[in-house]
Amino acid sequence: MPGTTLPKITLPKIASRSRKSLAIVAAAAAVPMVLTGCTDNTKSPGASASAGPIQVTSTKTECKVSTGSVPSGNLSFAVKNEGTEITEFYLLAEDGLRIVGEVENIGPGLTRNLVITAPAGKYTTACKPGMQGDGIRAAFEVTDSGNKTVDADFQKLVDTGVQQYTAYVKDQTEQLVTGTKAFADAYAAGDASKARELYAATRMHWERIEPVAESFGDLDPKLDAREADLEPGQEWTGWHRAEKDLFPPAGYTALTATERAKIATQLVADTEELGKRTRTVVLSADKLGNGAKELLDEVARGKVTGEEEIWSHTDLWDFQANVDGARIAFENLKPALAQKDAALATSLDEKFAALQAELKKHAKGDGFAYYTELSPAEVQQLAALVDALGEPLSKLTSAVVL
């Protein structure tokens, strides 16, 4: 049936070993089977929106939905695949074309949840066993529960935020390319003190957009591998190779001029390639949200522990840059978030501010104190603020995307 197949939401797929590029279409999640069908009996009878998930059973020939009408608000579908093929479930708008929510790739025997926010209106449900064709459809209605639904301009706010962040990525990569060239020139020319001076500040442009940069699985190890990450026989290039040479540990043998020139040339070439590729990256709200969370995870894992810059000890520059990147993503999404979950937006504002205030205490001139200059108590204080921010930040994506 040409022309009637379900439209597919196209989210760009960034080929990657990094997990940041997971395309989240809607919050689909498997639930333990024992939990499906559980209802909260303590709720008052009127609150039917919280009466447990709507049960959907998908087989080769049927798409059973436990109810055809629910009050507006947060809807939760528990979709069980009782067929033998992979199935999908869609909630479509009245026109039967626009996808309100979907959950794909449900293996035989598995159950997954689809949680969405839907205003009152007429809808269509569809299971798609075998992921082929039009799907098995049925009418579905959402009645007005009186709960305030989301502003119609919501999608516009999201789109604007994504555009702004895309521009930010472009700006940062341009600055990264320019800065890397200057750094590489100084390094190749043997001007170690100038290269040391440029090292941390230039890397900040990389660290601000790390989730996007890291999504290129081949470039990330070339540019940002630490010595411990190498496998036997792997050639070591990139920033940290130069770092070790510029901030040498005891007993270290310096690279020759030829070796340095090679590292420098490669660094510039890989960075230019990165710049080129980021031009065509298509971002989405979930990437912004997940990217922001991911940047904070990076801080918690490597920067607050001083593991990222083990020779230069310039971890606080990276720290600041990761926080910058996360904050920009959050602020780009904030107008949309404010509609969905104003309390979360406020809380994130406060926590970003608190972390930034603490970081500022360690500012020195244009840069920061070295990691080795921090006292254990200061590191603990930073780590606590990172955790305080990281927890609510992990809720940003689902808050905006649902």
Binding site: R17, A30, V31, L110, G390
Partner: protein, 450 residues
């Protein structure tokens, strides 16, 4: 695991299964439970007699409830060492020792002393001739005593030898020239390794597994004490919850990521696969023939970034693992024990079980059919001072040959497993040659020193 429907006591299947649970009259040590019941039955007089050492040990053994029997004893002697295919107990205390002397005879004597103590403790008795309370009033007790009144707790003690026992600074030790098995390699650096020397290596390892943590701790403590002046503990590790099952009678346990772990693990019931993947052979040169019937123990202390994991969406968690969190079914469908279908593709031709998921990378199908027997434990060593749990998986595997059965897989995982890249950090490591079992009257590693 309480309330688990599978957690019944499986019929005792001693490793190798050839050894009767003998209670010989020559055996030393006091039954820990026996002492207790004797005090109850015989009253003050009997206890006084014991304390003064008037009763012979034979008499004690005869009076006391028979040790070395019952469902909480795993026989120590046998064709294979216990603690490899023994159904995984709930608790672990593992210790690696450095040998601090260079005297061959002294090492042999230590191994003999350890054998006697290990046999006593695994049958629920105290160590030494006079145990915890039967010795001289003016001497420190031989047994440390904290396991008094406790049952054997299915304690197993499994011994292995690290590369450092065979050579130090490139010089052979203890006359063991030519005896180091080819499979006892120095492990390569794996990408992302952050090994701490104080948690890595060791000349001799002892794995103590028991259902009671105090029993396992008591065992290592007493062995360490016996070894003072000859060996020094290099590192030790407590584990509090098994993360794999080694018997079909056991339910699959969960790791600290909340996922079922070890679903596809080799089980003690799989005799032929055990020969193929776990039990070592006589090797290629005569000097390593002593390892026939033994195995190689790989230990890795794998720190998990728990807090970061907890902020990760369920979708992503499942994608990283390749199984559902609830029932542990492979993402290709089915139930927990349904074989994963790595070929099945979903939307956009992407495999349902992601290419870089843990299940796929670790699966035998992706590793030349190679399997291993894992006995890992969850661990928590408190917190790290930054408000995060110092917790993770203490990975233990027994393999036929680490060159074929561990290194290639770990290299692949370290390179491409997103889970490893983002959520794990290897902080400790060890590789040990675990000799075959000990016959009554023999001692640990007898074949090596023959």
């Amino acid at each position: 695991m309480s309330g688990c429907p599978f957690n019944h006591e499986p019929a005792e299947a001693p490793d190798g299964g050839t050894q009767p649970a003998a209670v010989g009259p020559h055996r030393r040590g006091v039954s820990r439970r026996g002492l207790f019941s004797l005090a109850g039955v015989g009253g003050v007089g009997a206890v006084a007699g014991l304390a003064a050492g008037y009763l012979s040990h034979d008499a004690v053994a005869a009076v006391a409830a028979p040790a070395g029997s019952g469902s909480n004893v795993v026989p120590f002697y046998g064709e294979r060492q216990a603690g490899i295919i023994t159904p995984t107990q709930d608790r672990l205390h593992m210790a690696a020792f450095d040998v601090t002397i260079e005297d061959r005879a002294a090492v042999i004597q230590l191994l003999k002393d350890w054998t006697a103590a290990a046999e006593a403790m695994t049958t629920g008795r105290t160590t030494g001739a006079t145990g915890a309370v039967d010795g001289s009033y003016d001497a420190p007790p031989e047994d440390t005593g904290e396991a008094l009144d406790l049952a054997a707790g299915k304690l197993t003690l499994t011994f292995g030898f690290g590369p450092g026992l065979f050579e130090k600074d490139l010089k052979p030790r203890f006359g063991l020239e030519g005896r180091r098995p080819g499979a006892l390699i120095d492990l390569p650096h794996f990408p992302g390794d952050a090994l701490q020397p104080e948690r890595t290596g060791g000349d001799i390892v002892v794995q103590a597994c028991a259902d009671d943590p105090q029993v396992a701790v008591h065992a290592i403590r007493n062995l360490a004490r016996i070894g003072f002046g000859k060996v020094r503990v290099r590192w030790s590790q407590l584990g509090f919850g098994r993360t794999s099952s080694t018997s079909r009678a056991q339910a699959t346990a969960r790791n600290l990521f909340g996922f079922k772990d070890g679903t596809a693990n080799l089980k003690s019931e799989d005799a032929a696969p055990l020969d193929e993947h776990v039990w070592a052979t006589a090797g290629t040169h005569p000097g390593e023939a002593w390892m026939a019937g033994g195995s190689y123990l790989v230990s890795r202390r794998i720190r998990m970034h728990i807090e970061i994991w907890d902020r990760t969406s369920l979708r992503e968690q499942e994608g990283l693992i390749g199984r559902t969190k609830g029932v542990g079914a492979p993402l290709s469908g089915g139930e927990e024990f349904t074989a994963p279908d790595f070929a099945i593709k979903g939307r956009d031709g992407e495999p349902l079980i992601p290419i870089d998921s843990h299940v796929r990378l670790a699966h035998a199908d992706q590793n030349n059919g190679v399997k291993m027997l894992r006995r890992g434990y969850n661990y928590t060593d408190g917190s790290d001072g930054l408000g995060h749990l110092d917790a993770g998986l203490f990975f233990i595997a027994f393999v036929k040959d680490p060159r074929t059965h561990y290194v290639p897989m770990q290299m692949a995982m370290a390179k491409s497993d997103k889970l490893a890249l983002e959520y794990l950090k290897h902080t400790g490591s060890g590789l040990f040659a675990v000799p075959p079992g000990i016959k009554a009257g023999g001692f640990i590693g007898e074949g090596l020193f023959a």
